[in-house]
């Protein structure tokens, strides 16, 4: 039954996903076309016009990216609300499936949709930035990619630990995405407690969850800085020579602190998500009250 639930969830998510993917493709192609055709070697009027068009295009591109991320969040939220707590809930909650299966199917499908959009956004930003840098500095793609990897290696002190780094970050991103989706669903479920203003209740619950999460994140970041100070035994010396022993030790300490911070933040998000998952489950099994 879980497979069937996921199949129908996926069907429901597909159309908005395709629309957003097309939108991303469209704005990426348009922005890259504008970048490639930017001409600063013409007379002043055309140069000004070209600059203005570029600025407008970048703004449009930014709005498109933000719109896609907000869009997928809204699609997930609205779909969950409609299928679980409006008239459609009469169908959803009378299917021969358990609340656990229902929540699992919705969480997995929504997290996958989120992941797809985030990956598309990363690809789009990478392509657009690469096009811009290639156009501005007249370099080829291989050189740019190698430079990017070199910067990443130096700044993070990774050396040969790329696969581990990528696995670690991928896990963190996936766990964070799942936590975000569960948080969104939890907020909508908690909003159902305000029987007369369910949508307003969901928005208030969502804001409250964000505040709680932000509070704990800030606490972790503050503690992380303390750990960083403790390891370096000194504050950052801006005159440190790039590549020196001291520079390397500071980078290593900063990375260590960052990894601990990241891990703790993901852990806190997971703990909050676990609570919210329980809230959604409880709402569906014990407090469901469809209008």
């Amino acid at each position: 039954m879980l497979g069937r639930l996921m199949k129908h969830e996926w069907k429901g998510m597909l159309a908005p996903l395709v629309i957003m993917a097309c939108l991303l493709l469209g704005i990426t192609v348009f922005t890259c076309t504008v970048i490639i055709n930017m001409n600063t070697e013409l007379d002043e009027i055309i140069e000004n016009f070209s600059t203005a068009v570029s600025m407008m295009t970048f703004l449009l591109y930014y709005a498109g990216i933000v719109g896609c991320v907000i869009g997928i969040t809204m699609v997930i939220a609205v779909r969950f609300y409609k299928t679980c707590y409006t008239d459609q809930g009469y169908l959803t909650h009378t299917l021969p499936v358990s609340a656990k299966q229902l929540l699992t199917a919705k969480t997995v499908t929504a997290a996958l949709s989120y992941l797809i959009i985030i990956l598309l956004v990363y690809i789009s930003v990478f392509v657009t930035l690469s096009t811009f840098i290639a156009q501005a500095f007249d370099e080829d793609w291989d050189f740019l990619l190698n430079s990017f990897v070199a910067v990443l290696r130096d700044s993070l002190g990774l050396h040969n630990a790329y696969p581990l780094f990528i696995i670690y970050w991928s896990c963190c991103i996936i766990v964070s995405l799942i936590c975000s989706v569960i948080g969104l669903m939890g907020a909508i479920s908690l909003g159902q407690l305000y029987t007369k203003h369910r949508v307003a209740g969901a928005v208030i619950a969502y804001l409250a969850i964000r505040i709680v999460r932000r509070f704990f994140t800030q606490v972790v970041i503050l503690l992380g800085y303390q750990i960083f100070d403790r390891f370096t035994h000194a504050s950052w010396d801006s005159t440190a020579i790039h590549g020196s022993e001291y520079w390397r030790s500071v980078i290593a300490s900063a990375n260590f602190s960052a990894q601990i911070m990241l891990f703790t933040i993901v852990l806190i998000s997971a703990a909050i998500a676990a609570g919210l998952l329980f809230a959604s489950y409880n709402m569906m099994t014990k407090r469901l009250n469809l209008e």
Partner: protein
Amino acid sequence: MRKIMEEQFQFNEGFANEGFAPLLQVDDLCKKYPGSGGYMAVYHMSFAIPRGRIIGLLGPNGCGKSTLIKMINGLLAPSSGRILVNGFMPGAETKRIISYLPERTYFDNNMKVSSAINYFADFYADFSAERAYDMLGRLGVNINARFKTLSKGTKEKVQLILVMSRDADLYILDEPIAGVDPAARDYILHTIISNYNRRASILLSTHLITDVENVLDDVIFMKNGSLMLYMPAEQIRSQMGKTIDAYFREVYVC
């Protein structure tokens, strides 16, 4: 009235004494909504429904019919008491054998009728897509139409067809003929009567009694969340010398 109540008690007890488990058993069921003060939407209800009966759940608006139906379907948790459907508490197991038609239309407006059929076929092992296509064909519904293009009445009929295309053990129909014209009511009742599994029971909630009373085997009267009467329809007619509709008007006189 006293005599009728005594016979009703014997009628209820009869199922237990016959030595078979009832299809639906409700024991001392209560429901109080949060924030409703002390008001009980359902108050200490107990009854049992055997197989092979068409039962009218009758009562005025706000008497607790829909609350009771939602609890049987697992859409509401009881405050106290117990519901057993074929021996199981409401859950995935009972949803497999209950075919429920709510008051609301529950399909996404962007969904096609054919997708709704596929949806039912995917989730309900007892669903007959052929029967659904046949009934929809006779009704003249385009299966490629989206729900948003259908009238309210047609949406309700499509929903009823899907619900009645299952070979369920218990059909629960909440106000299936409310808000539709008399011709549509006849169609709906005909669809119900000619399609239900004969080993199953139908619990039909309505306050339009005249239209349904001829198809009912038993009737349950509810008042203020309580069970007021549960007895065979024929018994009411013979003992009271009046139709169920007339008796209903007498009982619920304002």
